[in-house]
């Protein structure tokens, strides 16, 4: 069943008779309400459970792939799984059934990678690396350049062994391969471990700074930036962006999520980044009962400084050396929609949950995002306040900012005309038009901009807030994995979709001693 053009349709395909489409409701919204209603009733005994669909999930005990019913109960979405070996289990996957169901209306077909190396044999996720069945190319390549780290986070989702630093020569080859596959990428993430522990990190940044790559982002806990001013200055000089892990503002939060009080170090890192005006993305890992009450405060900080280009909330994924053993109640955990609700509540409605839209290019359940337009007085207005993102879907991209690319120019022009036609109905319509005029003028001057400059111009006109829910053994959904666009390039040439790699290949999905799946290939394989 699909919602299309305001109507609900059932699409069928018969092997004998071919495809057939039947309209089942003239009003998609009414149909959706009627569909959701039974699953909205209070149901302490689970009686009012509404089946939604089926998918392939993972058994949280043995990590085998299992069938799961996706069910709606009391307005929430759960996976109800059956594992032949371990028995049944349930897990919460979304705190808002309406968002979960409607998200499908945003989904769009993926773009094939320019090249795939693996063959289809046993199926997903066994053939990974990528195989021709994978439905999305690489938007964000995440290079793990080291497995050394200067923290031991109780929530760490990788498996640091303090054994490897990626050699610059290997890194250069991997970047070459990425460019051969993708042509150009808007952002390349240098991660770890803690990448600032890599003794030759600045060389890596330099190697990645190529015309085909819009921005090079160093994903860091910020400890080195806090104490090593010269290092931060070199990052700035090399044009690197920083993705700073910032999960909160109080010692207890840092202790619970990162193992020790980092308050002073985070403050120092923030001060240096601001002083040097290093373009920064904030990454806030959010966990139920730990730091969800500080979501509003990080939004406030993010909107207050010009050098913050993006804020990325990540509901805690319970996987990896630390996260795999972190206490979790799979039936009451923070999910993507829980973060959206907290944003609305804690900003007093300045930002609303429905300002966010599912990112359409991966599975629409992976990422919710919001772009904010810079107004001429320095304030920020969420795009959905003046643009219908279902109509202007070109503006929903897996990008920290809106790059000055031709497709964005077209999408912005569409937005201008829509707003122009109803400017008196939109609060501040004229001021928003004035801001769009400024933004378009800056992003699309009469002479075309080189790719990197095009990316940078966009950052000055709009900010983004993402909520990215990585998967773990409880909420793993094969359907999502197949459309993943966050990939870990490997020294052996494979490109590994992030959550599949974390669950099946690292051998740490349930803590450091988790047996690796029989098809899993360890990280650092093929390291030169």
């Amino acid at each position: 069943m699909v919602l299309r053009g305001g109507e609900a349709w059932r699409l069928r395909h018969c092997a004998k008779c071919g495809p057939r489409e039947d309209r089942i409701a003239k009003d998609a919204r009414e149909h959706l309400e009627a569909f959701l209603a039974p699953g909205r009733e209070p149901s302490p005994d689970g009686a009012a459970t509404k089946p939604f669909k089926r998918t392939t999930a993972a058994c949280p005990t043995c990590l085998s792939l299992v069938d799961a019913d996706v069910v709606i109960r009391e307005g929430r979405v759960y996976f109800s799984k059956r594992c032949a070996a371990c028995g049944p289990s349930e897990a919460l996957v979304s705190e808002d059934a309406r968002y979960y169901v409607e998200a499908y209306t945003y989904a769009r077909a993926g773009s094939d990678p320019h090249r795939v190396d693996a063959k289809v044999a046993a199926g997903c996720p066994e053939d990974c690396g990528l195989c021709p069945d994978h439905e999305q190319h690489t938007c964000i390549p995440i290079f793990e350049v080291t497995d050394h780290c200067d923290l031991a986070c109780p929530t760490c989702l990788v498996d640091n062994r303090s054994a490897h630093h990626l050699a610059p020569e290997t890194f250069a080859r991997m970047v070459d391969e990425l460019i051969a596959r993708e042509g150009q990428v808007e952002a390349l993430a240098i991660s770890g471990g803690e990448p600032t522990c890599h003794p030759r990190l600045l060389e890596l940044v330099e190697l990645a700074s190529r015309p085909e790559i819009g921005r090079v982002m160093v994903l860091t806990n910020g400890l080195r930036i806090a104490k090593d001013r010269a290092f931060a200055e070199q990052l700035k000089a090399k044009g690197a962006y920083v993705s700073l892990q910032l999960d909160g503002f109080t010692p207890d939060v840092h202790r619970k999520l990162r193992g020790r009080d980092l308050t002073a170090e985070k403050e120092a890192a923030l001060a240096t980044l601001e002083e040097l005006e290093i373009p920064t993305q904030l990454i806030f890992v959010a966990a139920r009962g730990v730091n969800e009450d500080q979501i509003g405060k990080v939004v406030e900080l993010f909107l207050s400084k010009d050098h913050f280009i993006s804020l990325n909330f990540q509901p805690l994924a319970f996987t990896g050396r630390g996260g795999g053993t972190f206490p979790v109640d799979p039936m009451d955990r923070l999910t993507l929609t829980g973060v959206l609700a907290a944003v609305e509540r804690q900003t007093g409605g300045a930002l609303r949950a429905n300002d966010f839209a599912p990112l359409p290019c991966p599975s629409p359940h992976c990422v919710a995002l919001l772009y904010l337009l810079r107004m001429n007085d320095g304030g920020w207005v969420p795009f959905p306040r003046f643009a219908d993102l279902r109509r202007h879907g070109g503006l929903l991209r897996n990008s920290a900012a809106l790059p000055a690319l031709p497709e964005i120019e077209q999408a912005l022009q569409d937005v201008v005309y829509s707003l122009f036609a109803r400017q008196d109905e939109v609060p501040g319509g004229r001021l928003i038009l004035a801001a769009l005029r400024r933004a378009i003028g800056a992003m699309f001057p009469s002479r075309p901009l080189p790719f990197q400059q095009a990316v940078r111009q966009g950052e000055r006109q709009a900010k983004s807030i993402f909520v990215h829910h990585f998967m773990d053994p409880y909420d793993f959904d094969l359907e999502r994995l197949r459309k993943c666009c966050n990939h870990y390039p490997q020294p052996d040439g494979r490109l590994m979709p992030a959550c599949g790699f974390n669950l099946f290949h690292r051998g740490a999905a349930k803590g450091a001693e988790t047996p690796r799946a029989r098809f899993g290939v360890a990280p650092w394989n093929g390291e030169a």
Binding site: Q413, D414, Y417, S418, F420, A421, R422, Q423
Partner: protein, 246 residues
Amino acid sequence: MGNLEGRVALVTGGSRGLGRAICRALAREGAKVAFNYSSGEEDAQGTLAELREAGAQAWAFRTSVLDKAGLWEMVARLEREAGVVDILVNNAGLSQVVPLALMEEEDWDRVMDVNVKGAFLATQAVLRGMIRLERGRILNIGSLAGTKMLPAPVHYSASKAALQGFTQALAKEIGRYRITVNCLAPGVLDDGVSHNIPPHRLEEYLHHCALGRPGTVDEVAKLAAFLVSDGNSYMNGATVVVDGAV
């Protein structure tokens, strides 16, 4: 029932000459017709009376195509009283016989302003409604002098050539809202700005015209009425020359 039944049309400079003929033709096809004029109260009232006598709903607004606020006010009133404007004919224009050597800067500005900027301002005023409707027809009245090398005033020819560029770029820009933009470029007519043509020039022109006569404003107006109708559904960004083959 005419081709334009239920449509709301605005013709700039509609009180006399070709503009008046276009108003008549649109009304004949069933459109509600409004026009603006900047001077010539008597002509305007005559046109208005003629349209109403023919049974059309009609409005006349005294405002210049260079008065942005006046145009927006006119369109707002029209939307309240008649509905959203879904046909715009940018007809208002002027000419002046003067060789470049004697042309004052003010001459140049006046012709460019009325003929080009006027079309821009009037289009902007009606465009909001057309986008909301996702339907519209915009017809710019150009001239043969904007498409061919003719002994016509330089500023006039330049302004009409500019309207062609305006037509093409705008057609590309707003086609996705199902609004078409075309340009109608008449040759010499028996009324309107062609009045100013010196007799020897007119004679030379007719010598080169296959039909051997000037066109009439009614002939051009009929074509205009077709060009803004639903029947003309796929032409966009085009300039249609109607000159008897010069």
